[in-house]
Every structure is written in structure tokens, then in C-alpha cells.
């Protein structure tokens, strides 16, 4: 063949390419002789391999981890007290001493953004976990039982598709009498789990129909093995994607609620409450609202690209062209 190595690489499937790397002494990475051991590749290993080939997703993943590290570590080592009011350096524009500037109370925004990120991202992940739990329970019941139960449960979901969560979140906050970390988690999960329930149910229905599940049954596998070996790993993939699909909505929800004064309230920092602070002073120092908003946008962008990458990696059948 007169193909260049570059063309040849492009022709190779990812799996073959990997085998080739692992067994460079074999032609195409395929063992020639019968009996040569070939290591079975797991679902997650393949997924990891597909994921790291997606440049946008890798950048987003690294950026996301960097954000997490910044939020967790910076408040510990920062020279500034994020709560100490000092009007002598209020509303300063970004400088070397204060990379993000200071707010109207003279607090260092670089430190407060990290602190607010802890709260916002914490609420985001906690609420996402609650949403997933409810969604998995609902979706699994519908998918496993099928028939009338499935029909009823899904028709309800069809009708509720896209129901705005904000009014219900506001009512929940009114019940608890205000916003703090855990009340926000409840408020943001209560009317946001419909999509996840749908996804889980769809996945379980599809999996049940798969030939390999039937084959597993046919060769006498017990239901526990079918569940553990075939159904669960595949549902897990969808759930990992769902984490990053739900996260942006929840983070935005926190920001909206805090912004209209019903969520986390100043001086406690969350990205929403910081934006509320910033909104009060946007005419003179717009950077105070820009900083937390850009943090939110940054996180949502990361989550979107990570979700895309994970979908391609974990569910190759639905890969986008």
C-alpha cells in the first residue's frame, strides 16, 4: 500500500490504533498466533480513550478541574479576608494586588469568587445528585415495570416537560423561610428531575431490548449478573453525562434565585449573591457583576463541552457527525 503513515492512522479505528500502540511488535497490533493473550478492554477504558481524543472536551475538563482547584485551595492561602469590609479600597478595578478588583465593600473579588464558587458548585453538585436519585428511581420504575405503570408515569412526564422550576423553587424557599445551602438544594431539585427520569427510563427500555441482554439471559445468567454486568454499567454512563447536563441549570437557578434576593444572601458569598451585590453598583463599577457572571458562564461552558465529550465517549451510537 502506498498510503502515508498519517493516512493509515486516520483509517484505523481508535481501538485498533490503541492495540497497535500497546503491541508495537505485532502487525496492526493484532496478535498473529492463536493463543496470544489479548487484554479485554473495559467500557470505561474505551470511553476514556475516546474522551481524550476530543480536544474541546479535554480542554473543558482541565479548565473545570482548574476551577475546582482554585475554589478549594485559594481561600485557604489567600492573603485577604473575604468578609472584612474596608471602604478605603472599595470598588477598585482589577490590579496586580486584586486580579479581579474589589467590591463596593473593599473585599477582594478573587478570594470571594473562589468562596462563592464553593457554595455555587457545591449546591450544583448536591442538587444534581438529588435530581439523579429521583430521576433514576422514577425512570427505573417506569422502565422495568413497563406496561400500564410505564404508560401512566411517562404521560405525566410528557405533559410536565419543560415546566419552569423557578416558581416551585421560590415556594419551597418560602416554606423553609429563606435560602441557605440545603434549602437551596431542595428548592432547585424539586421540579428539575423530569428530564433525567426520561433519560434513565429510555436507557433502561433500550438496554432491556438489547441482544446481549437476551443472550445473557439465554445462557442462563442470573438477573443479578445481567443487572451488574450489562444494565448497570450502561446506565451509569448516561448518569455521568446527566450530571453535566443538569449542572448548568442548577448553577443558573442558584444565581437567579440569589440575584432576585431569595437565595443565598450577602454577605455570604455565592456567585448569585455576588452578582446581586454587583448589580447595585453596575453604573460605576461594572466589574463587580461581571466577575461572578463570567465565573458562571465559564462553568456552564465547561459543563456543556464535558457533557458533549462524555456523550461521544460513553455512547458512541449517538455520536454527532
Amino acid at each position: 500500500m502506498s498510503t502515508t503513515p498519517h493516512q493509515r492512522r486516520a483509517l484505523l479505528s481508535p481501538l485498533r490504533l490503541r492495540r497497535e500502540r500497546r503491541y508495537p511488535e505485532l502487525p496492526n497490533g493484532v496478535p498473529g498466533e492463536a493463543g496470544t493473550p489479548v487484554r479485554a478492554s473495559s467500557l470505561w477504558r474505551d470511553a476514556w480513550y475516546r474522551y481524550i481524543r476530543n480536544r474541546a472536551a479535554v480542554i473543558a475538563g482541565v479548565a473545570f478541574l482548574a476551577l475546582l482547584a482554585y475554589c478549594l485551595v485559594w481561600p485557604l492561602v489567600s492573603p485577604y479576608d473575604p468578609y472584612e469590609v474596608d471602604f478605603s479600597q472599595a470598588s477598585e478595578s482589577p490590579s496586580l494586588a486584586h486580579p479581579f478588583g474589589t467590591d463596593q465593600f473593599g473585599r477582594d473579588l478573587f478570594t470571594r469568587t473562589a468562596l462563592g464558587g464553593r457554595v455555587s458548585i457545591g449546591i450544583g453538585f448536591a442538587a444534581t445528585l438529588v435530581i439523579l436519585s429521583i430521576g433514576v428511581a422514577y425512570g427505573a420504575i417506569a422502565g422495568f415495570l413497563g406496561g400500564f405503570v410505564d404508560n401512566t408515569l411517562m404521560r405525566i412526564l410528557d405533559a410536565l416537560y419543560g415546566l419552569p422550576y423557578l416558581p416551585f423553587a421560590i415556594i419551597v424557599l418560602a416554606i423553609f423561610g429563606g435560602g441557605n445551602f440545603w434549602t437551596m438544594v431542595v428548592a432547585l431539585s424539586i421540579a428539575s428531575w423530569f428530564t433525567t427520569a426520561r433519560i434513565v427510563r429510555g436507557q433502561i427500555i433500550t438496554l432491556k431490548e438489547n441482544d446481549y441482554v437476551r443472550a445473557a439471559h439465554a445462557v442462563g445468567a442470573r438477573w443479578l449478573r445481567v443487572l451488574g454486568r450489562h444494565l448497570l454499567p450502561n446506565t451509569l454512563g448516561v448518569l455521568v453525562i446527566a450530571v453535566f447536563l443538569e449542572l448548568p441549570g442548577v448553577i443558573l437557578g442558584e444565581a437567579f434565585l440569589s440575584f432576585i434576593g431569595l437565595g443565598i444572601s450577602p454577605p455570604d458569598a455565592s456567585w448569585g449573591s455576588m452578582a446581586q451585590d454587583g448589580y447595585r453598583a453596575y453604573r460605576t463599577s461594572p466589574h463587580i457583576i461581571i466577575v461572578p457572571s463570567v465565573a458562571i458562564a465559564y462553568l456552564i461552558l465547561c459543563a456543556n463541552f464535558i457533557a458533549d465529550g462524555l456523550r461521544d465517549a460513553l455512547d458512541p451510537r449517538t455520536r454527532e457527525t
Binding site: I156, L163, A174, F259, L262, N304
Partner: protein, 310 residues
């Protein structure tokens, strides 16, 4: 087809009852008393009379049934806080601005989002595609309160002498421009991404190849064969988009001081005006549920394949 429509409409009824029940149960958990605003305690007998007048002393299922009856007869009951006003008045007064804002934002999103997505798909993986997708991804990620604030900052503060746009109220057309853009940007980005994906998928279909092979002009292939078929999945996005608009309006109405539902909602919650909060929540949920129903039926008409599946 008729059977599908009837079944879909009938399914909506129990769901509406369920949503009202959910809201009703939630509302009853809120502590506090709408009649007691000042520190001054209301005498026991007056409190009882008030509760009796508004039917708050009945068992909860009686109140629930009475409420459902009210919704059916389009009577959402009296406001508990504002005397001589009922929820219908409040809806009549505050709903039109919200509806108009939502419609304008939706129009903005459609008019700019669909062409953007189409352009991106037709020039896939070239610079117009990258530009459009950067715009779409950023537009989707930036919270609307930042968009709103920046619009006000630039068009009313920085370049205020040039543009002179009012930043609050909802009377003149000038005052409607900025809120429309601020609320419509997110849905626009959503439509652009959706259209791009959908068009790319359609372009791979055999009938597009056939149309091209027949020698049809490019414009005809794009508009008649591609776009028309690609827009069907976009229709189904109406549910989430509507939710998005409603959610966004809470913030946008607050920032631009628009006398709409979203702004009044927060006021009513703070004042513990149960019946208003209840009425507005049920109304918003009803709008979404009915929109979903219409979309499902439309989908069945537009795409015959889905009829089989149901």
C-alpha cells in the same frame, strides 16, 4: 389521528389536577399568616372570621376541590392581601406585559437563531460554523442578568447620549428593545445549536442526495428539502424554551422594572399572598402543559412516523 389527539388531550386533565395538587400541598406548608402584617395581634374572633370568609377552616380536600372548581370556571379567587382585588384582576393587569415580552423574545430567538444554525450547518467545520457556534455557546452560558446589565450599562449609561434608551417600564417601543434582547439571547443560542444539529442530520438523508442528483438548485434543496424537515425537531423544543423564557422573565422583569407576572410573583411570595402565588403558579404550569400538548399534536401531524410509535 383523531384518536391520538383525543387521547393526548384527555391525558392532560389528570396531569393538570396533579400539578394543582402539588402546588396546593406545597403552598400549605408555608408558615405565616397573610392577615397579620403588623406586630399588632389580630383578635382570635376576627382571625376566625377571616379564615371562615376565605374558606381556610375547611379540610384541605374541600379547599382543593373548591380550588379546582375555581380553575375550571376561570375564577382564581380573591387576593388575601390586597382588598377588593382578586387574582383574576392581577393576572389581567400583569400578564399582558409578560406575554408580550415572551413573544418578542421568542420572535428574536427564532429570527436570529435558526438562520445562525442553518449557516453553521451549511458551512460545517469552516470559520462561519466556528463563529456561529462560539456565539451560540457563549450566548447560552452567559446568565441573562449580565446581558441585561451590560446592555443597560452600554446603551443607557456609556453611550446614553447617542441611544437614549429608557431602562425601565414597558410603555414605549424603545423600552422594549433591551429586555427583548436580554431575554431572547439564551433561547436564540439554543435554537442555533438545535438547528445546526438537525440540519446536519438531514443533510445526510438519502432524499437530499436524490434532490441534488435531480439537479435541483441549491437554494431549493436547502429551503424546501433540508430546512423544512430539520425544523420539526426544533418545534419540540418549545416546551423547554417556554420554561426558559418564564424563568428568565423573573430576572429580566426585575431588572427592567417591567410590571409583569415574574416581578409580581416575588412580591406576592414575600407578602404571603397564598392565593396569588397559587394562581400564578398554576397559570404558568398550565401554559407549559398546554403548549406541550399542542406541540405533541403538531408533531404527530408534521411527522407521520411518530404516530406509529405512540
Amino acid at each position: 389521528m383523531t384518536r391520538l389527539i383525543v387521547r393526548r388531550v384527555l391525558w392532560t386533565v389528570p396531569v393538570i389536577l396533579l400539578v394543582i395538587l402539588m402546588t396546593f400541598v406545597l403552598m400549605r406548608q408555608i408558615e405565616g399568616n397573610p392577615f397579620r402584617h403588623s406586630e399588632r395581634a389580630i383578635p382570635e374572633s376576627i382571625q376566625q372570621n377571616l379564615e371562615e370568609k376565605y374558606g381556610l377552616d375547611d379540610p384541605w380536600y374541600v379547599q382543593y376541590l373548591r380550588y379546582v372548581k375555581g380553575v375550571v370556571t376561570l375564577d382564581l379567587g380573591p387576593s388575601l392581601v390586597l382588598r377588593n382585588r382578586d387574582v383574576n384582576d392581577i393576572v389581567r393587569e400583569h400578564f399582558p406585559p409578560s406575554l408580550e415580552l415572551g413573544a418578542l423574545a421568542m420572535a428574536f430567538a427564532l429570527v436570529f437563531g435558526i438562520p445562525l444554525g442553518l449557516l453553521a450547518a451549511l458551512r460545517a467545520n469552516k470559520w462561519p460554523d466556528y463563529t456561529a457556534m462560539v456565539v451560540a455557546n457563549v450566548g447560552f452560558a452567559v446568565p441573562s442578568f449580565l446581558v441585561a446589565t451590560l446592555l443597560i450599562y452600554f446603551f443607557a449609561v456609556r453611550w446614553g447620549d447617542v441611544f437614549d434608551v429608557p431602562t425601565s417600564g414597558w410603555e414605549s417601543w424603545q423600552s422594549k428593545v433591551l429586555p427583548t434582547i436580554a431575554l431572547g439571547l439564551g433561547p436564540m443560542a439554543y435554537f442555533a445549536r438545535l438547528t445546526r444539529g438537525s440540519v446536519l442530520e438531514t443533510l445526510q438523508q438519502d432524499y437530499i442526495r436524490t434532490a441534488r442528483a435531480k439537479g435541483l438548485r441549491r437554494r431549493r434543496v436547502v429551503v424546501v428539502h433540508t430546512l423544512r424537515n430539520s425544523l420539526i425537531p426544533v418545534v419540540t423544543a418549545a416546551g423547554p424554551i417556554l420554561g426558559f423564557l418564564i424563568t428568565g422573565s423573573f430576572v429580566i422583569e426585575q431588572i427592567f422594572a417591567i410590571p409583569g407576572i415574574g416581578r409580581y410573583y416575588v412580591t406576592a411570595v414575600t407578602a404571603r399572598d397564598y392565593s396569588v402565588v397559587m394562581g400564578l403558579t398554576v397559570l404558568l404550569a398550565l401554559i407549559v402543559i398546554v403548549a406541550n400538548m399542542v406541540v405533541d399534536i403538531l408533531y404527530g401531524i408534521l411527522d407521520p412516523r411518530t404516530r406509529e410509535a405512540r
